[in-house]
Symmetry: C2
Subunit: 154 residues, 2 copies
DNA sequence: CTGGTTTAGGACTCTTTTGTCTTTATTATA
DNA sequence: TATAATAAAGACAAAAGAGTCCTAAACCAG
């Protein structure tokens, strides 16, 4: 459904949304907390930076941060930036030369499902996922429990 | 969203559903009508045969046919046979060790979307897509118009 | 039994995705 | 200015997906 890169991007974005607003977080730390490959995550986040969804800063105290308030970033934006708009436009049968004019028998039904999908992603912002204390706690529980992340950073 | 193999399988199944009930259709003919690679389609349909969704017969007048009446075959069965159940069970974030007990902030919302998706595929049979004359016509228009398929078979 | 037709099965190539590693450019701080 | 920290960029390897092709096995008709 979603590519791996995309899920990593979403995880990282959600992580940033749950941190202090506007703070630059090193990718190293994100990758450790979420248990992802540092180098691979770097690639994904570079991509998001190019698309203007993240800001980045090199050097000491550098890292990445959300480019906009988390209330203004939808999940759909992130998915589209990484995987492209296919998920929200593609179709089940993938027939050549079909469409509204020449719809296959599934067209109408599928359009509905696709709309459902699109609404879910477009109608959810990062802020919505960390606003309620219980949701935030649930999210943090997903990564704060990773054992090796607790090792001190000298 | 769906793998290529999966869309090919769905197209072929729909094609068979629109043919005479129980008749064996050569894969060669299916591939020509739908404009798909014969060898690749063969692989996909072999897979469906192994999963008991198709019957097959070698030799002259052989081919493949639906193993059950099209009214008893859902799109979900075909998708699961080819792509596996991931689409209907997988999740957006793909966190390790999460689930009902330790849900991420998206879990509930996502479950809803996934249910929508599952209902659409599980609630649609092949017969439903070719029962209404207009739908059948729409479907046939998708492939009967391929120009080279009209060339006589000597 | 013989020969042509059709699926079955596997080897193989090409492309995309995933992941690793190394080097370079930029920044803050001492 | 020197040093350490950090993202940026690109080369490279490994794995999965897509697609091609060839041979074998089954089947029917004569
Ligand atoms: S008609 Fe619509 S649903 Fe059918 S194959 Fe084309 S785009 Fe997909
Ligand atoms: S809690 Fe649910 S939605 Fe969240 S990552 Fe796990 S399975 Fe996916």
């Amino acid at each position: 459904m979603l590519s791996r890169r995309c899920t990593y991007g979403l995880q990282a974005a959600l992580f940033l949304a749950s941190q202090e607003r506007g703070a630059y977080i090193p990718i190293q730390r994100i990758s450790e907390c979420l248990g992802l490959s540092f180098h691979f995550l770097t690639k994904v986040l570079q991509h998001l930076t190019h698309h203007g969804l993240l800001r980045s800063l090199r050097g000491p105290h550098g890292g990445v941060a959300l480019a906009r308030p988390p209330g203004q970033i939808t999940l759909k934006e992130i998915v589209v930036a990484i995987d492209g708009p296919d998920l929200f436009e593609a179709c089940v049968l993938g027939l050549p030369g079909c469409g509204e004019q020449k719809p296959c028998p599934l067209h109408e039904d599928w359009k509905e499902v696709r709309g459902c999908l699109r609404n879910a992603f477009a109608g959810t912002t990062l802020a919505m996922l960390v606003a309620e204390p219980e949701r935030l706690a649930a999210w943090q529980a997903c990564w704060t429990t990773s054992p090796d992340a607790a090792s001190a950073h000298s």
